[in-house]
Symmetry: C2
Subunit: 400 residues, 2 copies
Amino acid sequence: MSGPSPAPGGALDPVQRARAWLSRAVEPGNLALWRFVEEEGPAAAATYLQSGAAPPRVQSLVGARAAEDTADADLRRAERLGARLVCPEDPEWPAVPLHSLTLAVADEPVGGPAPDRTQVLVPPLALWVRGEPRLDELVDRSVALVGSRASTAYGEHVAGELAYGLGERGWTTVSGGAYGIDAAAHRGALAAGVPTVAVLACGVDRVYPAAHAALFARVLDDGLLVSEWPPGCAPLRHRFLVRNRLIAGLTRGTVVVEAAARSGAQATAKRAERLGKAVMAVPGPVTSAVSVGCHELLRDTERGATLVASAAHVVDRVGGIGSDLAERPATPTTPHDSLSDVARRVLDACPVRTGVPPERLASVAGCDVLDVLRVLPALELADLVQWTGTGWRLAPATGR
Amino acid sequence: MSGPSPAPGGALDPVQRARAWLSRAVEPGNLALWRFVEEEGPAAAATYLQSGAAPPRVQSLVGARAAEDTADADLRRAERLGARLVCPEDPEWPAVPLHSLTLAVADEPVGGPAPDRTQVLVPPLALWVRGEPRLDELVDRSVALVGSRASTAYGEHVAGELAYGLGERGWTTVSGGAYGIDAAAHRGALAAGVPTVAVLACGVDRVYPAAHAALFARVLDDGLLVSEWPPGCAPLRHRFLVRNRLIAGLTRGTVVVEAAARSGAQATAKRAERLGKAVMAVPGPVTSAVSVGCHELLRDTERGATLVASAAHVVDRVGGIGSDLAERPATPTTPHDSLSDVARRVLDACPVRTGVPPERLASVAGCDVLDVLRVLPALELADLVQWTGTGWRLAPATGR
């Protein structure tokens, strides 16, 4: 699976080569291009675009890049990096999770959305993947953990704990490799000794932010760096928005750990919801600006975000029915809990020191003497009351 | 409205006197007794019970208290305290909010629930009220703020802020007078200079906890202490559970600020939900044990608790439609926000220092040169790019 596959005769696989060229010639996430490639096939589509013979609507997307061809160089550069181009034709293609994107574009009008609309949930044409494991296997049971770069110690702690707990339960954490919540999520997965996937908005050879060189190296030990852009591509601002749909598309659900009132993490959550994936949010202090986005997601009843406070809650939401269910929180039980209403009243009526007769208990408890006589044996058996010889009183240390 | 009302001839009003006697003779919250009083009328019901002639099912509730009569003394004691007994026959009775309890008991079987079942949502027979304002007017627009006695500084801060903000918006805070969230809620309302209502599980002359003597005195300056129990009654444990239904019943909704996994605050929320009132919960750190109960309420989609982070959110939930709506959180807007997709890409493609020609921008941005020429004027107008004489570059200090 690693590096460009030689086609018969030693040349590169023409389909893979065409998709490599397309991945550089057109910014990913364009519906018109994706439909053109689906209809013509990748090799023919690339040939049309290179010769300027594609329909104007698609041809204009390539613009000045039509004359540039670095596909072979990109594929060889990837091979040197230990990376590969994973295409829809490959067995490694994560077809099941990405099918959500194919379904999403089926709803778009045939003429296509307005050309200036960025946020189309269009499937990727190919994925540049760096690292050993198979992409489809890693993301089969995966959850996206996303959140603010300007995170708090609380948010990073929770992101790390969630990723760790998900790893322990056999779930892969997918995130974006950024500062803050992303980094804490990857680190939590690494601490659990499980692979993690970073989906980047630049080439898989670029380290952005630069301070994450060591983190990305550790991700590569067991996990993957994934990108729609060929090696060398820069992390341009608009690419993060386009990338976010992939994080939502590759996973079974998205957890927003911390997010400001308006944030990329909220945008990813919206995409996940439109893809029919689970949307979850971690609450935090209402006094924290970076929990406002999470709370808005949870307040938006139409969007249906689920509050999650633990990895068990996440698995409860995304896991198969019956296979991964969160336990109810432990509720302490005391002898008091099993008491009947009358028994409780009689117990409350018992004095601490001097014993009193059942008639007095009945008066204080507001019930019949027969009721008092009926419940006293059970209270005595539970070590809650004791007979002093002249009357009833509370047993010492009943824990009331 | 203050003190027992003299009936014609100088004697006490027999209905009020009967309800005063009933409020001491039987523990409140009993459905069979409430139905008996509804059917016979309070004066006849009291006479039957005092003579032992009531049906056995009801008579047994009074037990040894049938022979005791301190109604006159209780009413006079209340008068000395500046308290009064508010009865369903009085104009001050909060009939509208308490109607929810009447509706709730209509669903109970005619034979009545099992005798040991505590949590019946039965209307009160009468309310002992201490303080100047009219009860019905204070609770007309009111919200219950409840929560843990073992609260954190965070929870107390939020409870205080919510009560303050509700007061500013003309809403009364109702709580239970306990340590922790209850006290913080009352204090927040007092800080806003608005009346607050404490619903007690003991007589309105008792201070429980004793450390709240000063707090209760301040509540009485403008607000009310309310109880179903006559003066002198002790805060027995089971009375808190019975009292909680009143807090839910008197208000338009209940906000749980902090609650452990199993708590009285959660029980109050459940009652509010069964009464068709709004149930709200304040989120907190998932690492906090006293936010677990709130998060469980929010995770329980069937119970339908709404996440609230501010007084505006609370009013949004309980306020009249169209009259009190929470504003959406402020979302900062930048010139960037209004850009089209193509304009964003071109902007991203602009270098910082040396200007480049439109053809180069088209290649980097992955679009047609005509598109670049189309969007550049708008970018220049927004002070985002500038013409150097030889090419286009980012304008200094564009805030990117």
